[in-house]
Amino acid sequence: MSDIEMIEHDEEEIEELESVVIRFAGDSGDGMQLTGTQFSNTTAVFGNDISTMPDFPAEIRAPQGTTAGVSGFQVNFSSYDVLTPGDAPRVLVAMNPAALKTSLPDLESNGIIIVNTDTFTPTNLRKAGYESNPLEDGSLRGYEVHEVPLTTLNREALKEFTTLSTKDKDRCQNFFALGLTFWLFDRPLGTSGEWLKKKFAHKPELAAANAKAMETGFYFGETTEAFRHRYRIRPASLPPGVYRKVTGNEATAMGLVTAAYKAGKPLFYGTYPITPASDILHSLAPLRHFDVRTFQAEDEIAAMGSVIGAAFGGAIAVTGTSGPGIALKSEGMNLAVALELPMVIIDVQRGGPSTGLPTKTEQSDLLQVMFGRNGESPMPVIAPQSPSDCFDMALQAVRMAVRASTPVVMLTDGFLANSSEPWAIPNPDDIPAIDIEHPSAPSNGAGEPFLPYKRAPETGGRPWAIPGTPGLEHRIGGLSKAPLTGNVSYRPEHHEQMCRERAEKVARLAEFIPEQDVFGPLEGELLLVSWGGTYGATRTAVQKAIAQGKSVAHVHIRYLNPFPRNLGELLQKYHKVLVAELNGGQLAFLLQGKFARPVLTYSKLHGQPFKISEISRKIDEVLGS
């Protein structure tokens, strides 16, 4: 708690903090996702840097009151740059015993706990697996506990809403809690107030009740003497610009729409719902006015097939899924490799193997997307590093696909998909166009026969001739082919040549992608390597280590196939290389396999992102300090 500074003493002692992590936790039905979102919206609009992370059960409504049914939403907000939703909440809002039970182990020591005491009934305690009441048995010693009879207070506050049932009123409880936290952190009520008006435009009664609950919560904080302090977190000094909050899935969807727009083509998104990828579909489906053609297929195989057909037809063709869906798509992805058509495959990774942990995050599909196809089937793979980076990388995926006429995989994960961060809204006019040239036959009808596999010398890509173009009629397929014509050929040299050419053109994308950048010293004792959604935790840990004078650098790889052209060299510059990843060591394996340079691995398989402290500890361990 070294970052606490007392700077002013109002009548209600306000403590100034640089950053705070707060978690809202309650039953699945308690509206915690909404509460968290509202809190983070207000906080973002207020000008803090934020990072958020929802965490909810796989069931739609898991059994009420049980730990399995707890839904949580964590917000890290700060007056400086934050890169993760925070290791340990300082403040926990626990709407029931189960929520307290599951979140307590994560809480900072000395943390603040706000509980709804009305829910601490014997039944609920039993459901949560408590033998005795933690509010009474001293197990919360050391924490600052605020016992609020939230249900009672809230019902009381809404007495005047006579047309609402008690159940309806109880549904406003989360806004009571929200109001209280707004008071605690000195936030205005305006943003959420506006939202309520819009949301319940047709049910003004509900809008008013929720607003009332929120205000009551706020004034409850103001009037009771229970709270020792309020806290203030000054706005962060983010680069100037207009900001919004964005989740990874939202950013991905906007990136895709932008790519299609910039290519002057329809966006075809063929998919089959699967957690945590479905929200990309949900974001795209309402965008018909952008000529977005979403197609909900009968399964992932059909989704993949439809994308191949759309790519053949000249659309910006994209599919999105999660690990089990990739397994099903792999035969189609392989056909796409053989056809050499541009398209993008998004894998929002979740915990595996098999159905695994559908709502939890993991990075364990890397080797699957690299190698999960029969034969030699090279495919570019890229991975955004943060929610907003999904926007840039989605655009980049399309550019790479079109350049090398190849399917490209973009690997995100459940954490990136659902967590959010501020996004400095770009000016779309500044985003360069994606120039696509479809060949056409010489107008006089003469000339050479069309050669669908004649490669562009600079890129290895092949012409993208689309049906409807007179004179370029041609047939392609999954059988081995002759170079240039693409006609079926089983000739040994043809097979070898085509395999090499496909590998070559993917490898040559290294000329297109940026060189790998390094954070920290350009040589030294330890290089920490990471990829994907673990960027925030790893970068922050390295920042801290460097600040502590340790010889550590950080390389966060966004391009996994091909690797940036300078990567191999970089790895040689450090005494030790440590790869931190949320899997059994997949990138480590790739690096060793490719560069034969021994690397250490820090692997975590918890269905949860890294904590900064975990990385810090590991760095120390490896440095032997």
């Binding site: 063929g270 018909r288 053609r293 097939g305 439809s306 659309a315 409807g468 009629e473 047939r475």
Partner: protein
């Protein structure tokens, strides 16, 4: 899409590609290919707007031999590629070529869904009731008891009827023909092409290597008329070389073959109604040798198709919200400004 106008006159040869045809001598696929190449020029569709998409199987080699756009895809998945292509370019004439294994074994589900969606495609299923390309295992349409390398003691599975599946899948055009009856086949292909929405055509096809006796008398020019009934919407169900037999509905709602003459006249027969799914279902179970096999257009109804529906939504959305504007899209959230 294309700036070209329809070319003056296409002929059969315009649709012949430069690839050598590689089916076994005598294979029924040749006749279907020839008929397709003969029928297409008559449709008035420019060649560049025609696409053939197939799966894997002997039959699925078809696209290589057509001088149009084409994809020889993977086993069972052709309808999915075709859907993506149709959605991208609703203007094309897309033909899905599949086999009884490709379309009904591994690919059965896609067929079902593409039909219920009424995607504007022409699906031609070559039914030889065997897996040709993998050398003769039984298929989902093989007769019970069929002995093959994978069923040396005979199969123990009830075959499925492609037409019944198409009907249950809500296909808006369902027809049947046979390789050897080239004229009939040509007519059916033309009718399929003319239908807006999904057209499903089962073509009985002779695999001379692995199942040469399957179609028996149906393949015989002299006998076939006694074993097939050519359905015509609005016409009574008469058949036979001498048109002296017919099909009526008996008391248990089952079709029954009757001899026309004293006991029954044409008036007792079913008057075929291609719009009635119930009727189509009923007669879909008829098959030689017990019944005349129904040939021709079994069902045809008009219904909005998938791409129409989709394009209509795009238009409606644009009419309502204006064409998509990235500025607005990015800003559709709570905003704040940092100065």
């Amino acid at each position: 899409m294309s700036t070209n106008t329809i070319p003056l006159e296409l002929t059969r040869k315009d649709f012949v590609s430069d690839q050598t045809v590689r089916w076994c001598p005598g294979c029924g696929d040749y006749a279907i290919l020839a008929q397709m190449q003969k029928t297409l020029p008559e449709l008035g569709i420019p060649r560049e707007k025609i696409v053939f998409i197939s799966g894997i199987g002997c039959s699925s080699r078809f696209p290589y031999y057509m001088n149009t756009y084409g994809i020889h895809s993977i086993h069972g998945r052709a309808p999915t590629l075709a859907t993506g292509l149709a959605v991208t370019n609703p203007d094309l004439s897309i033909w899905v070529i599949t086999g009884d294994g490709d379309g009904l074994s591994i690919g059965g589900n896609h067929l079902l869904h593409v039909m219920r969606r009424n995607v504007n495609l022409n699906i031609i299923l070559f039914n030889n009731r065997v897996y040709g390309l993998t050398k003769g295992q039984y298929s989902p349409t093989s007769r019970k008891g069929f002995k093959t390398k994978s069923s040396p003691m005979g199969t123990i599975e009830q075959p499925i009827n492609p037409v019944a599946i198409a009907l249950a899948s809500e296909a808006t055009f369902v027809a049947r023909s046979i390789d050897s009856h080239t004229q009939h086949l040509g007519e059916v292909l033309a009718a399929a092409a003319a239908h807006k929405g999904v057209s499903f055509v089962e073509v009985y096809q002779n695999c001379v290597i692995f199942n040469p006796d399957e179609w028996g008398p149906l393949e015989d020019r002299r006998e076939r008329d006694d074993h097939m009934i050519y359905l015509e919407h609005g016409k009574p169900m008469v058949f036979g070389r001498n048109r002296d037999k017919g099909v009526r509905l008996n008391e248990r709602f089952e079709p029954e073959v009757v001899q026309l003459g004293e006991q029954y006249t044409v008036d007792d027969l079913i008057v075929y109604d291609a719009r009635s799914k119930a009727l189509a279902m009923m007669i879909s179970s008829m098959e030689h040798p017990y019944f005349p096999t129904p040939m021709g257009v079994i069902r045809q109804v008009s219904a909005p198709n998938y791409t129409e529906g989709l394009m209509a939504q795009i238009e409606a959305a644009q009419a309502q919200k204006g064409k998509g504007d990235l500025h607005k899209l990015y800003r559709a959230a709570d905003l704040w400004e940092v100065k």
